[in-house]
Symmetry: C2
Subunit: 374 residues, 2 copies
């Protein structure tokens, strides 16, 4: 039988390709006809102008190339500080409008180095802000629920999803209004611009801050546009954190679980072969344990059922208890490995086990005492 993770990956690949094929078919249907009409109209108008001024084909080509290359420069100074900051933002966030791109080799090289370090930094930062945003939202939700004296004043996941979605909607709608005012775009186009920007697709067919030398002349608008992008991406990160991140880590978590299970199986085998005290696990014996609480400080022959080499200081263990069943000790080691792997390090507790015949003496530190001594 195929492993769950492989099946899932295969299913995802099939889904994605189906989705791409479907998308291609629909985009073809929606845009293809318009494309032909639009292209013919463009070529027609060009031909008219060409004939009117009697421009040779070669010169027209040169003129076209010049016109295309001039475009970024019409937006003002793209590489003075404000423009360079805007460019750095589009690189780091992977929006990459392409409204201005490096023309020197040094510029290209530095862009690569910059992106290599900046993109992971940006990813981690946006996720961190997103997480804080979710945390803050759930705090607000709880407060509001308390205020209205709801039965359970807790923030459920659904509440959070609603709040984050509302936040994203308000932000896009508000941002679009501002862009539509400053750029003189239609409201629909502004929404499209905000969406394409915040998903980091960044086509570059519509780019803010490119009209009337806005980069040089409207500092307040530059500030707004940049803050919109950065805060907007944080909200997107919050919703990804809430809805997608756990799906992203599914395979990795399954893998860890499988490893832990394999480890457990290996452990069990050892148990069966080499250990006398395996009886209770397999339902053959009836045993009684005598559990004693002993004063701290006195320790006698301390031995452990656990044969794993795990470092107790780094482990998560059940708090305040010691082994009272050989079985449980073995399974504890398994659990330890698992949690060590999944990096949940929570409580550090010492448990010391003494074994003499079928009598198990347990000394467990009181959590209260521990808190004092720490």
């Amino acid at each position: 039988m195929m492993k769950k993770q492989n099946v899932r990956t295969l299913a995802l690949i099939i889904c994605t390709f189906t989705y791409l094929l479907m998308g291609a078919a629909i985009f073809d249907a929606v845009e293809s006809e318009n494309e032909n009409k639009y292209r013919n109209a463009l070529f027609e108008s060009e031909r008219l102008i060409q004939r009117r001024f009697n421009i040779s084909d070669v010169d027209l080509k040169i003129l076209e190339a010049i016109a295309f290359k001039e475009l970024p420069y019409k937006g003002g100074n793209q590489w003075k500080f404000a423009g360079a900051f805007y460019y750095a933002t589009t690189v780091m966030t992977t929006i990459g409008y392409g409204h201005s791109t490096p023309s020197t080799s040094w510029g290209k090289t530095f862009t690569m180095v910059y992106a290599f370090l900046g993109i992971p930094l940006g990813l981690v930062m946006f996720q961190a802000i997103g997480d804080r945003l979710n945390h803050f939202s759930s705090y607000i939700i709880r407060k509001v629920k308390k205020m209205f004296e709801c039965k359970d004043a807790v923030a459920t996941e659904t509440d959070l999803v609603i709040v984050v979605t509302a936040l994203a909607t308000i932000m896009t709608a508000g941002g679009a209004a501002a862009f539509s005012y400053y750029e003189k775009w239609t409201y629909f186009d502004s929404i499209y611009y905000c969406f394409i920007t915040l998903t980091t697709i960044g086509f570059g067919d519509m780019v803010a801050l490119q009209q009337d030398s806005a980069l040089d002349s409207k500092p307040e608008y530059v500030f707004f546009a940049l803050i919109f992008i950065l805060f907007g991406l944080a909200v997107v990160a919050a919703s990804l954190n809430l809805m997608v991140l756990r799906l992203v880590t599914l395979n990795t978590e399954d893998e860890k679980r499988d490893e832990a299970a394999a480890l457990k199986a290996a452990k069990d085998t050892v148990h069966l072969e080499g250990d006398i005290i395996t009886g209770p696990q397999h339902g053959l014996l009836e045993s009684s344990y005598n559990t004693e609480k002993r004063g701290s400080g006195t320790e006698s022959t301390t031995s452990s059922f656990c044969s794993c080499d795990c470092d107790p200081a780094r482990l998560i263990t059940r708090p305040a208890t010691a082994a009272d069943d050989p079985d449980k000790v073995a399974s504890d080691c398994f659990a330890r490995k698992l949690f060590k792997t999944s990096r949940v390090r929570m409580l550090r507790k010492k448990s010391r086990i003494e074994l003499s015949d079928t009598r198990t003496t347990i000394w467990s530190e009181s959590p209260k005492l521990r808190r004092f001594s720490e």
Copy 2:
């Protein structure tokens, strides 16, 4: 004192802004001078042509606008199936070259809907493939180490990072060679193209499949370019999975840990105040438990120390054991909550507890028997 997560987020924000400011300063220094030279040269040549053909300023503007809008159409049919598939890929992966963008409102609307569903799907798929790739790499590393009879035939994280980095380098270098051949770009430019594509920045200053109507006439090259993008992004996902994903989830994990700790504290308090059987935890009583193995099927008054409302079927519990210490039961509930939160659902075990005075009767199902009955 500020919470660890807030401090971290603040530090990340400061880092990011510093990085952006630094980037802006360097890009300014590298590109700004060149920008002025280049712009002047372009405007100069344009003026020359304008004067030669005696084109009015208005007509020149129209001609420029036409030239700019015509550009996508020179690459062939952008919205026939191959082109539409290419477009769908750039949307789903958030590369967004912008070499062709929807011109109809329907096209724009559908692009938004398509991206809204497609980007999360793509993210999850690429991470799934990336994880499988890492898994496969570690398998190969182990095999190779065994072949060369290394002391420990295990794949360390460093090994994996080296392998994934090597894979990414080979892929970029190989891809660049192919693009440089097909597109007649310099090798450096091809490297730049591959990098900008695989980081999903996708400026669109250089776009594959746009020369000589490649989309219509070179199916094998179209196939190669698409596979390069998809496989390349999987390799990038593998390295993110290895190096960045755990940083991304740091805050969320800390939050869970804090919640669990708060829960534990609450639990402890309840224990101290309301529960008679708290004795052993606080070192006041000495109690003895009699543990019995009982046949399945017989159940008497089943009560639990656990006061939490967790659904046993969804829980992770220590395998094969039952409560043998009131203390432990309480801490188990705490552990349950924790693992429920972190969505590690692993082993489903029933433990039933009977309590009569200080005598606790424990019935724990044998894992062997369970395996049979399931």
